[in-house]
């Protein structure tokens, strides 16, 4: 599996210009555009826009990820109020453990797979209404108000990361709104990130799992995650597609 860590500066500056244009357009009704660029390495201030100076990402070390452990999966379900209906074909899964085995060598591994929060997310490209969007800090989300449930994003996602809500839901968590007939996926626990906390899966992995998941700002050269990806080889799933996911794996 090849690696891709760079980005196209031209594209980045174009996106920056677009974001600036959008910011100026929205300025009369929006406060504190300036604050969004204030503190790149930390969580944003309450009420401020997400900053493109930050690129949230995750490094998952498969050397520490146990075959039988699914603490990240249960923590995600608990945090976001995901409850199955006993129908595995249609129940939502935001993060899942995937077992992979090399048929030639017999070598096997287990890894968590969720929305990979691509830099160039195909789900965002194909969404007709723009409900699928990428926040400035790299988190890919679904706007639950404008998703029409066409499911084209699910066709486009290379990671099978998205679920369609196939039936009515009850007892939802206020910070993780969900709705029948719309598409959803891992939010990277955006509500936690905005509250200066780690995603639930990462926290659970470090508390009771193998401590395989590291969350942080890939744009900040001094962050732990940046230091580790600089020092050790890491991989992205389907790096050949050139999407530059924010989720990276070690020992894959």
């Amino acid at each position: 599996m090849s690696d891709k860590s760079g980005f196209d500066p031209k594209r980045r500056s174009f996106l920056g210009a677009m974001a600036a244009a959008a910011g100026v357009t929205l300025a009369p009704g929006v406060i504190l555009y300036g604050i969004s660029r204030s503190s790149p390495a930390t969580a944003k201030a309450a009420g401020a826009e997400a900053s493109s100076a930050v690129r949230w990402g995750m490094l998952i070390d498969l050397g520490r990820c146990d075959n039988g452990c699914d603490d990240c999966v249960s923590a995600c379900a608990e945090e976001n109020g995901l409850r199955g209906f006993g129908r595995p074909e249609t129940d939502a899964q935001w993060i899942r453990k995937v077992e992979i085995k090399n048929p030639q060598t017999g070598n096997s591994k287990s890894l968590p797979v969720m929305c990979q929060h691509c830099e160039d997310p195909p789900c965002v490209d194909v969404c007709p209404t723009g409900a699928s969007f990428k926040r400035a800090d790299g988190i890919v989300l679904v706007n639950k108000h404008t998703c029409i449930g066409c499911r084209y994003c699910m066709m486009a996602c290379p990671y099978k990361a998205r679920s369609f809500v196939h039936e009515a839901l009850e007892d939802q968590k206020p910070h993780a709104p969900r709705g029948k007939g719309t598409v959803e996926s891992c939010t990277l626990c955006v509500h936690r990130i905005d509250d200066n906390r780690q995603p639930a899966c990462v926290e659970a992995c470090s508390d009771t799992g193998g401590g395989a998941m590291l969350f942080g700002d890939l744009n900040d050269p001094d962050s732990e995650i940046s230091r580790r990806v600089a020092k050790y080889a890491s991989q992205q799933i389907r790096a050949d597609l050139g999407l530059n996911p924010g989720i990276r794996y070690r020992n894959l």
Binding site: F85, R87, P88, E89, T90, D91, A92, Q93, R96, K97, V98, E99, I100, K101, N102, P103, Q104, V113, P122, V124, D125, V126, C127, P128, T129, G130, A131, H145, T146, C147, I148, G149, C150, R151, Y152, M154, M155, A156, C157, P158, Y159, K160, R162, S163, F164, V165, H166, E167, A168, G179, K180, G181, T182, V183, I237, R238, L241
Partner: protein
């Protein structure tokens, strides 16, 4: 060119109203099916998180593809200047609009949130080919409506050719857009190919003409008007050519894919051991929808008979549904390859061929789209002058003696 007289269908016979009632029942059932699906959620359908587009999409895509193809008859008359096709142009436009409306209604009612249609009409992501298609579909209906008016309003006839050219180019772009919905899906091995666009264009020519032939013959038989063998022979030979074009693009699609080792898995699935999909491909698309209709329209002794034209058209439609089913559902049933070369398993059906069985509400919704298209055509023919009074050889062929 002889003067062609057009007239409305009388549309006051028992058969007319019986047909209208049957179509209405199908349409109302479709509404009930859609309501049932929306009320309970899509878990009552055969769809899942793996097969996210099911039978309604098969119907919708067939209808939308056939819609653009149905317009070809008009294009041949006014754009390519074939006088024989001119009298056939009006029905061609009506059918194009009707099929498109039928297809779009199915697509909308299968959305997770059809109540948010207004969102789809007011929020656009212009990088999305779906968003382009919204404009292409609406534009198509407007252009064809204007084109129809120019054909039907004698004083405006001289402009019909220009409108016809715009409509022809638009329909090519539209079908390119529909095919590219699949062609642009880089992560899905069964799609991810530029050939999806020309393949869909060829499919539209073939499916659209097949539907056209059936409706034309039914309308003339039903209203006891004359239709000569010249028209039937021309149309059925053209159908044969279009069917051959679909087979050609299908062959290229699979050959190109087979050449890449990474696609051997999905090709093996569709062509060899995919169960229902393999059966539908070879028996449905290739034999029933391809080889048999070509024999019917090209084999000399009976080629060109209206019986053969009807039979060939029905087979093309059956084969066409099989083809769209294999593309849409078969293409999704084959798992995404996240880890090339690895054996994969998970609780989310990674690495597994997904099962799918069409549910009654899905089929009901799809048939409702067909019924709606039928109703639009039926009442269109009753209200406006779409059909020439006679398509007998003497009436349409300038060289007929």
């Amino acid at each position: 060119m002889k003067q062609i007289t057009y007239s409305e269908l009388k549309g006051n016979s028992g058969a007319f109203y019986t047909l209208a009632a049957i179509l209405a029942v199908f349409m109302l059932s479709a509404l009930a099916c859609a309501f049932y699906m929306e009320h309970h959620g899509h878990h009552v359908t055969g769809m899942s998180n793996q097969i996210v587009w099911g039978t309604p999409h098969v119907f919708a895509i067939f209808l939308i593809v056939a819609a653009s193809g149905a317009l070809n008859v008009a294009s041949i008359g006014s754009v390519f200047g074939k006088p024989l096709y001119k009298p056939l142009g009006r029905l061609s436009g009506l059918l194009a609009i009707a099929l498109l409306v039928g297809g779009l209604v199915v697509l909308v009612l299968d959305l997770g949130r059809p109540d948010r249609l207004i969102v789809a009409m007011t929020h656009y992501n212009f990088k999305s080919i779906f968003a382009w298609n919204i404009f292409l579909y609406v534009g198509f209906m407007l252009i064809v409506a204007v084109y129809l008016w120019l054909q039907m309003e004698r004083r405006m006839n001289r402009h019909a050719k220009k409108a016809g050219l715009v409509a022809f180019v638009w329909r090519l772009v539209l079908t390119t857009g529909t095919g590219s919905i699949f062609g642009f899906l880089v992560a899905r091995e069964a799609y991810d190919s530029a050939i999806m666009a020309p393949l869909f264009v060829a499919m539209s020519f073939s499916f659209g003409l097949a539907v056209y032939i059936l409706i034309l013959l039914a309308a003339y038989r039903g209203s006891e008007r004359d239709i000569g063998d010249t028209v039937i022979r021309k149309l059925s030979r053209l159908l044969g050519v279009f069917v051959a074009a679909v087979l050609y693009f299908t062959a290229v699609q699979h050959l190109a894919s087979l050449y890449a080792a990474e696609h051997i898995g999905v090709e093996r699935f569709i062509l060899m051991d995919g169960g229902i999909y393999t059966l539908l491909f070879w028996l449905g698309q290739v034999v029933v929808g391809g080889i048999l209709p070509m024999i019917l329209v090209f084999r000399p002794p009976t080629a060109g008979s209206s019986r053969n034209a009807v039979l060939a058209s029905i087979l093309v439609i059956v084969g066409g549904f099989a083809q769209v089913y294999v593309i849409v559902i078969g293409g999704q049933a084959y798992p995404l390859d996240l880890f090339p070369g690895m054996e994969v398993s998970s609780s989310f059906q990674d690495g597994m061929i997904s099962g799918y069985a069409p549910s009654l509400p899905e089929i009901g919704l799809g048939l409702g789209g067909v019924a709606l298209a039928g109703l639009i055509v039926l009442f269109g023919l009753k209200l406006l002058r779409f059909l020439p009074v006679s398509l007998a050889n003497a009436a349409i062929d300038p060289h007929h003696k």
